[in-house]
């Protein structure tokens, strides 16, 4: 198996897409930061909160972080995969670029943050409550959750994050290649949809664990 890159001359999106307005210059792309620097202090604050919660090892902060960020992770995955993805596919290319340049930089910060907080707080919560012990009566469901989360982690780390950064880097170029953007967005939406399906499995497992 190999990654094959088809080298094409860089062309303007408006000149290659049939639905683009062909009168005059290509649509202006809004300026954007690949990593929104304004969001970094918020991420840092959340991570400090996570470290304090783990160090304190108290039930409520760990439950709050695990549930709140876990819910955010589930909702974002389902929404991206099943609502935003299909909607984006139906938008005209200029509108799609507008959405991508505004949405994807935020995803660069949101996804790693919600995933890290959910997993770290969840693990610590499991240690505190004893649910990670193999003697726990619902241990098989806990292991099932490890496996599903493992799948999601591989997809998120291997497909989602790289595609997210790559599509933004491509859009930063003076003349982005529409074929590259389309390929990467397809990969991103497909991966988000697949993790959305796995999130449904996580919901089943977590509710099973809760009711015993």
């Amino acid at each position: 198996m190999t990654d094959v890159v088809t080298a094409q001359p860089p062309v303007s999106i408006a000149h290659t897409e049939p639905t683009a307005v062909s009168s005059g210059s290509p649509p202006a792309r809004p300026d954007f930061q690949i990593v929104p620097l304004k969001g970094l202090p918020i991420v840092a604050l959340i991570f400090v909160g996570l470290i304090i919660a783990i160090a304190a090892n108290k039930l409520w902060p760990l439950v709050f972080l695990h549930v709140a960020f876990g819910a955010a992770w589930t909702i974002v995955d389902l929404f991206m995969g099943f609502v935003i993805g299909p909607t984006m596919g139906k938008l005209p290319p200029p509108a799609r670029i507008e959405v991508v340049t505004r949405l994807m930089p935020k995803m660069v910060l949101i996804m790693p943050t919600v995933v890290t907080v959910t997993l770290a707080a969840g693990w610590q919560l499991g240690v505190l409550m004893g649910t990670v012990n193999s003697s726990y009566y619902n241990h098989s469901w806990i292991v099932a959750s490890y496996i599903v989360v493992g799948f999601m982690a591989v997809i998120a780390l291997g497909l989602l994050s790289p595609a997210n950064i790559a599509v933004l880097t491509e859009l930063k170029k003076p003349k982005p290649n529409p074929a590259v953007i389309q390929k990467l967005m397809k990969r991103f939406i497909f991966a988000a949809g697949f993790t959305g399906i796995l999130q449904v499995a996580i919901l089943v497992i977590m509710t099973r664990i809760r009711v015993g």
Partner: protein, 128 residues
């Protein structure tokens, strides 16, 4: 239209990550019992080997966009070192020690290197 063939970096990296995750799940699912570490060591060794293969294969690519690769890779490395540090902190906070700590720490190092390599590769491969 010309075609450039690149090594299967994405596939190898995803396999490598899957291997260390399987090792982590194997250890976590037996807590707090002491289990043989051999399977986890084997999985870690295989994962690290795939990282090495990926780096060697990439280094042999001619006319690769190394400037872009390193400019993206260094920031990705910083980000993933931070998340790796958080994971390691959680392990130490829970009193993990001895060989299981060594296996998991090395796994985290593989993760913290391989993911930035994958991100940097994905970006650089489209740099013409």
């Amino acid at each position: 239209m010309s075609e450039r063939t690149l090594p299967p970096v994405t596939q190898l990296a995803m396999t490598s990550l899957a291997l260390i995750l399987i090792g982590g799940i194997y250890l976590a699912s037996h807590l707090p019992q002491q289990v043989p570490l051999t399977p986890a060591w084997i999985l870690l060794a295989a994962s690290a080997s795939l990282l090495a293969v990926n780096l060697i294969a990439l280094s042999r690519v001619k006319d690769f966009a190394w400037t872009k690769f390193f400019s993206v890779g260094k920031w990705a490395l910083l980000a993933y070192m931070i998340t790796a540090g958080l994971i390691e902190y959680a392990f130490l906070r829970d009193g993990l020690s001895g060989d299981p700590l060594v296996v998991l720490t090395l796994s985290i190092i593989v993760y913290a290197i391989h993911v930035p390599v994958l991100i940097a590769f994905t970006v650089a491969q489209y740099e013409q």
